[in-house]
Symmetry: D2
Subunit: 145 residues, 4 copies
C-alpha cells in the first residue's frame, strides 16, 4: 500500500468511528484507496417504505457514505454540494448491497464522483453522482497516522 | 376539503401506516392535498455523520418521503426514477425540518416534483427534485375511503 | 434601480456582447437584477431534432444562459459545476420561450439557481437547476460602470 | 453485425437525416450498436459564451444527441425526462470532442444512460446522465430496413 492509500485508510477509519448514521445502517468498509471507496450493507425490515420495498433514502444514504469516504480521504475536508441518484431496480429486505465510488474529477476546489450500487446477484440497482466542495481543512492530524 | 383532497389524505394515511423507515425518522404529516404534501421531522444525535453534522441521507430521506406522499396521492402507484438534491446549509442535531412538495408536472406516465426543506428559522437548507413513473395501479381500494 | 442592480446590468451587458452562441440562439434580455435574470428566445426550424420537435440542447442552452447571467452578475466570475434539466412538455418551432433564473443559495464559494422555462401560453416546459463555483475574479473593472 | 445492431444503425441513420440541430453542430456518427452510440464534433468560434470558452449548451447538446441515438435505437421511440451534466474541464474552440453513450438500465417503460465526453487529448471534460420514457411507438417501419 502506498503512502496516499495509507492516509486514505486512516482518514476513513476516523470518519467511520464517529458516523452514527452509517453505524445504524450497518455499513461495512471493504476497500479504501486514494479517491476510491467500496462499502457494503444489508437491508433490514425497518428500512422499508409504505410499499414494502426499500425506502429510497437507504440506497441514497449508502451511496452518500461511499461518496464521503472517497472524496475526503486525501485528508481535505469536503462537503457535498449536489447529488443525484437514479433507481434502476427495487431493493428488498434481505438484499445485500455493495457501493463502489470512483473519482471522475479531482479539482483543487471541487470533485466529482460516481457511485454504483449492485445487489447480491450483481445487478446494478442504483447509480449516484456527487459533486463536492473542498474546504482545504484537515480531518486528521498527520501525527495521528 | 374536496373529494380529491379526501382521497389524497386516505392514500397517504395508508402509506404512512406501513412506512417503517419514515417512522424511524419520526416523520409527522402536516398537510396533504392533491399532488402536494408538507411534512416535518426533528434531527436526532443518531443521524449525524463523521463530521458531527447531519448525514446527507437524512434530508434526502425526508424529501423522498414528501415526494412519495405527493406523487402517489391520486391513488396511482408511482415509483421514483430520478432524484437530485442540492445542499445549501449544514443541519445539526436539534434542528426541526419541514419539507414541502409541489407538483411541477403531472403527466399520464410521469410526474415531476420539487421539494424544499427549511429549518426552524425559515432558512432553506436543501432543494430536491424528483421524477416518478406512474404504474397505473391503485394503492387503496375505493371502498376503503 | 439600486447600485447592485446597476452593476448586475453592466456585467450582463458585457457578457452578452461577447456571447456568440447566445447570439446564434437569438436570446433577448428582459430583466436583470442582483442574482436574478429573465431572458427570452424564439424557436426556429434549424433547432429541431430527428423527431421534428426541439432538440433538448436548445432549452438547456437557454436555461444555461439565464443561469450564467444570474450567477455572475455580482461581478464575481462563476463557472457551472453541475446542472440538471427536467423536460415537461415538447417544444416546437414558432414557440416563444421565457427563462427566469432565481437564486436559491448565494454562498461565498458556490451558488445554486433554479431556472423555469415557460412557453407563450404560460405552460412550464422545463425546469433547470444549476450549481456554480465562484472564482473570486472580476468580469468587468469598476471603472467600466 | 447482428440483427439488433443492423436495426440500431438504420434507426439512427433515419434520426440523423432529420436532425437539423445536430447538423448545425457538425455531429458525426462513429459507432452505433444496440443501446450504445459514439459520436464526435469539433468546436467552432460561434459556440463560445461571454468568457471565450464553450457555452455549456454545446457539450450538453452533444451528449443529448448521443443519448437519443442510444436510447431510441431499438426502434422504440423514447423521450428524455431528466438529464444532468457535470462539467469537469473547460472546452475551447478547436477542441474535438467524442461522446460515448452506455446503457445503465433498459426497462420496459424507461431507460437510463451515462454519456462521457472526452477531448482530443483523452481528458474527460463532462459527464451526462439521462433518463428516458419509452413510448412504444416505432421510429421506422420494418420494411425500411
Amino acid at each position: 500500500m502506498n503512502n496516499n492509500d495509507v492516509l486514505a485508510n486512516s482518514v476513513v477509519a476516523h470518519m467511520v468511528e464517529n458516523d452514527a448514521f452509517s453505524k445504524w445502517m450497518g455499513i461495512e468498509v471493504l476497500e479504501i484507496r486514494e479517491g476510491y471507496s467500496k462499502i457494503k450493507m444489508s437491508i433490514r425490515e425497518e428500512m422499508v417504505n409504505g410499499f414494502g420495498i426499500v425506502h429510497g433514502g437507504i440506497p441514497f444514504s449508502l451511496a452518500d457514505s461511499a461518496f464521503a469516504f472517497a472524496c475526503n480521504n486525501r485528508n481535505n475536508l469536503s462537503v457535498a454540494l449536489d447529488t443525484s441518484i437514479t433507481f434502476a431496480k427495487a431493493i428488498h429486505p434481505g438484499d445485500s448491497l455493495v457501493a463502489e465510488a470512483e473519482e471522475i474529477h479531482n479539482g483543487r476546489s471541487t470533485g466529482v464522483y460516481v457511485i454504483t450500487i449492485t445487489n447480491q446477484t450483481g445487478q446494478q440497482v442504483a447509480m449516484f453522482k456527487g459533486t463536492c466542495f473542498r474546504t482545504g481543512k484537515k480531518l486528521i492530524e498527520s501525527g495521528s497516522l
